[in-house]
């Protein structure tokens, strides 16, 4: 139809999908066939087709997280053919389209795997560890009201842009999922460096990085060994530079803060 390649033919695919009842049970890969998949479908629309078929046949549909389907809410999180969010760089699962696959392909679909992300069901995982890390300090401690005029502190455009780029993290967890060490450093550093770059964040920069890193470790994420898979798989292009910024923020904070604990 509109906008599509008129020569693109519908595809038949074999799906190998991870099925797991809940976090306390063992999971396994189950094979499914889907037919007449349009190349213009999104990956999740292809899964919709599978789920509608399963439901009509009286089977249980595959549970997976998704919501906005425009690449910004960070809900979708599928490990497709051995890659976080599938083969296309800079793309969330929901923005991956079936034109990236070919008729007859076998596609393996797994949930994010990490000790800190237990499986809820099938392909849905619990990423609340990310929320707890933000709760540990990913904010500027101001109450509503009583703030100065927005133009009171000029911020160089270059700094504002870099802070913005760090702030575009969607907390999907692809960094953790693709990291051999299951490290959350890219996620944590994006917030730390956004607030460390902006003058508003300077007041709390030491306690913030100390507390957020402590919580990150407590959640059971691994340590960064600068492999770089996180940034390579990040759908919104969060840079490794943020991790370096966090490292120096942390060392500086530990060396100079008044916190003895």
């Amino acid at each position: 139809m509109a906008g599509s390649n008129p020569n693109a033919k519908p595809m038949n695919l074999t799906l190998k999908v991870w099925r797991q009842r809940n976090r306390n049970t063992e999971g396994r890969i189950v094979d499914y066939q889907v037919k007449d998949i349009s190349p213009d479908m999104s990956f999740l629309e292809m899964l919709d087709v599978l789920n509608e078929d399963l439901l009509r046949q009286g089977e249980e549909p595959v549970a997976f997280d998704h919501d906005c389907r425009e690449g910004i809410c960070g809900s979708c999180n599928l490990f497709i053919n051995g890659r976080a969010h599938g083969p296309e760089a800079g793309t969330t699962t929901c923005q991956l389209h079936m034109r990236k696959f070919s008729d007859g392909d076998t596609i393996t679909i797994e949930p994010w795997r990490s000790a800190a992300f237990p499986v809820n069901k099938d392909l849905s995982v619990d990423r609340s560890a990310f929320d707890r890390i933000i709760q540990a300090g990913g904010y500027i401690s101001i109450n509503t009201g009583g703030t100065p005029d927005a133009n009171e502190i000029p911020i160089p455009k270059d700094i504002a842009d870099r802070a913005f780029e760090a702030a575009t993290c969607i907390a999907c967890g692809a960094c953790v999922a693709s990291c051999k060490n299951s490290s959350a450093m890219l996620f944590v550093s994006a917030k730390v460096s956004q607030l460390a770059l902006l003058p508003q964040g300077h007041v709390e920069r030491k306690t913030r990085v100390e507390n957020m890193v402590a919580q990150m470790d407590k959640e059971g994420f691994g340590a960064c060994s600068n492999i770089g898979s996180c940034a390579a798989e990040c759908p919104v292009g969060i840079s490794l530079e943020n991790i370096a910024i966090m490292n120096r923020e942390y060392i500086n904070a530990k060396a100079t803060s008044n916190n003895l604990a």
């Binding site: 910004i72 809410c73 904010y139 509503t144 133009n151 902006l198």
Partner: protein, 644 residues
């Protein structure tokens, strides 16, 4: 019933200040004795939760997402309006107020809108202090862009991700209060009913979406910040989970539903590509700053283009009809959304649409790319262009985007008074969930403004007025009303699980969406609405006898979740149709074909319809009762909207 909007006396500009003085305050030491439930953690919910917790109230915040940060506010692209007048181009609180009232086609409350314009300036200050990285000029000061329906540049933005950055600001404020123990966060919890005790909202019933457990929660007041109901149409720019269940359950417990037929069709969305389509993706209105909307001037050219006999580049400049620039020289491509959408539909109805289906018009960037270069365009709109390319497989730098209107926002919602309180005492509605500020059409970049205004700067004052009159005694779930509500929820879930028919929730949802789009979409008429009403009633009966679900309700079951939401859409859809049928005029997003000017513009009937239609639930399968809140315009003169 007479609706008391509780608009304060006095001159427009002084109403809010006076009201803030007149509302009762809760003693600071007593605030910790009050519990407030907030349902929804988008802009309106998260900002309210954080602000109320900062004041000292105990907040319980609920979201069906795994994290508050996933709320669909995050997807707002273009920006947020504020009457800062940083550009020195003639903006003022009054002008923002005026533009919003006019943009809403004179169907919004003056006092609410003026307050919105007043607090808009505080929102920007608040967000900047939170570390929201708005776009800046080289001198380090904040940048602005223009949006539809305004002739000043007052929209603050963070590239194409303004909603994301604002939501993350509110989310961070919320997270801070969670860390302090002032907010208790319930994720993956869906509100399935409201509990009313002695006529006052006192709690909610929720379902844990992971374990399936049904839970009772009590509080002194309940705030619904659960967004809009655009997903009634199945295809919309809303997220897949967006639903009306919380608002609809509250409606059935006594909260009036206002102007349900006021839905906004956004002009610039990526067109539908097939039956499998699960949602539509918006291309920010900000693109109309630099993109030019056109279709081929003749039907014949359009047809040849659709058939692939000619290419876009073969169409000469004089054979292109830049219809918005032609018809509205003053505003050009930046006319309000309802006007832009209707014109796009008109062009397609005339057979001049493009794309395979003929249901699309061009949004062309060739001129601006020639003028400023592709690099400049990429700086400004890069993420939107990338998104377009990913979805369509086409490169918008080389050929014009194809766009078509799609359901985007619902101006209607729970009726609230000036305090944002619904007709149930103790139940508040904020953000898109209420009906208050946008009339019959919302201007671009005003949804973010309203959500944050309600949450940061209105509800913290007005809810105190109610709580100050409520004894600070602990509330519990002891009252039989809780058991009763829970039993109702259980019965409904069990009923859904036990039908064991043949059709999936999505099939019913698509069928409903089709009816709504066809008969209650961009253009409506009495006959079609009558037809749609019987169709929906039939569909609803089929739903309750032929629904298919599998699995159990004691575990994560996404199809069950969806079925409950579709069931409510099937009821709300009918009310929308009733409301559209009742409103014998055209205004804003509500276009009745019977009521139009000779030029095809919306024709209002101010004499008979300058009112808010607030619908009152009157029992299952009974017609709802229409209550009217007359709108009084003391400061602006009602005129035919003109953007020419």
């Amino acid at each position: 019933m007479i609706l008391d909007s509780k608009i304060p006396e006095g001159p427009l500009a002084e109403k809010w200040d006076k009201h803030k003085f007149n509302v009762k305050l809760v003693n600071p030491a007593n605030k910790r004795k009050y519990d407030v439930i907030i349902v929804g953690t988008g802009l309106a919910g998260a900002s309210a939760a954080a602000s109320l917790a900062e004041l000292g109230y105990n907040v319980k915040a609920f979201t069906y997402h795994d994290s508050p940060r996933r709320a669909h506010s995050i997807a707002a692209q273009g920006g947020i309006n504020a009457a800062k007048n940083y550009q020195n181009d003639g903006d003022s609180v009054y002008r923002l107020f005026y533009d919003t009232i006019k943009g809403g086609d004179y169907r919004a409350r003056e006092a609410n809108v003026y307050r919105l314009a007043q607090v808009s300036v505080n929102i920007i200050d608040q967000c900047v202090a939170q570390g929201v990285p708005f776009a800046r000029e080289y001198g380090g000061l904040l940048a602005n862009r223009s949006f539809g329906g305004a002739q000043v540049s007052r929209t603050f933005y963070a590239r194409g991700q303004t909603g994301q950055q604002l939501l993350l600001g509110a989310y961070s404020a919320l997270s801070r209060q969670v860390a302090y123990g002032k907010v208790k966060l319930y994720t993956r919890s869906e509100m399935l009913d409201l509990v009313v005790v002695d006529g006052q909202a006192r709690g909610i019933i929720t379902r844990n979406l992971i374990t399936g457990e049904i839970e009772q929660h009590a509080a002194h007041a309940v705030v619904l910040a659960t967004g809009g109901y655009g997903n009634v149409f199945y295809l919309s720019t809303n997220a897949k989970y967006c639903n009306a269940t919380a608002a609809w359950r509250a409606h059935k417990k006594g909260a009036f539903f206002a102007n349900p037929c006021f839905t906004q069709i956004h002009p610039t969305c990526i067109p539908v590509s097939g039956d499998y389509q699960s949602k539509l993706t918006l291309m920010s209105e900000s693109l109309r700053n630099d993109g030019r909307v056109w279709v081929p001037a003749s039907k014949e050219t359009a047809e040849r283009l659709r058939k692939g006999e000619i290419r876009v580049s073969d169409i000469k400049e004089e054979d292109r009809d830049y219809f918005l620039e032609r018809k509205y020289p003053a505003f050009g491509n930046l006319v309000p959304r309802d006007v832009a959408s209707r014109n796009a539909k008109q062009m397609c109805d005339e057979g001049r649409g493009v794309g395979g289906s003929g249901l699309a018009v061009f949004l062309d960037f060739a001129d601006v790319i020639k003028r400023n270069g592709a690099e400049w365009v990429s700086q400004k709109y890069g993420n939107l262009f990338d998104m377009y390319a990913k979805i369509t497989g086409e490169n918008p730098y080389e050929q014009p985007m194809r766009i078509y209107p799609a359901v985007h926002y619902t101006m209607g919602g729970l009726w609230v008074d000036y305090n944002l309180q619904t007709t149930i005492p103790g139940l508040y509605a904020t953000g898109e969930c209420n009906f208050s500020d946008h009339g019959a059409n919302r201007l671009g970049a005003s949804a973010l403004m309203q959500g944050l205004a309600d949450g940061y700067f209105v509800i913290p004052y007005t809810i105190g007025d109610y709580l100050a009159q409520t004894p600070p005694k602990p509330v519990t779930t002891e009252h039989p009303a809780f058991k009763e509500a829970e039993a109702g929820v259980r019965a409904r879930v069990e009923k859904l699980m036990s039908i064991n028919g043949t059709r999936t929730p999505a099939e019913f949802h698509k069928a409903l969406g089709h009816i709504m789009w066809e008969y209650c979409g961009m253009a409506r008429n009495a006959e079609g609405l009558r037809h749609a009403k019987t169709e929906i009633q039939k569909l609803r009966r089929e739903f309750w006898s032929d629904l298919k679900l599998t699995g159990t309700d004691q575990e994560m079951n996404q199809m069950l979740e969806n079925a409950g939401r579709v069931a409510d859409f099937l009821e709300l859809g009918e009310l929308m149709i009733d409301d559209a049928y009742n409103r014998n005029e055209s205004c804003g997003g509500h276009f009745r074909e019977e009521y139009q000017t000779p030029e095809g513009e919306a024709l209002r009937d101010d004499e008979n319809f300058t009112y808010v239609a607030a619908w009152q639930f009157n029992g299952e399968n009974q017609p709802e009762i229409l209550n009217k809140e007359e709108l009084r315009f003391e400061n602006v003169k009602l005129t035919q909207r003109s953007y020419k």
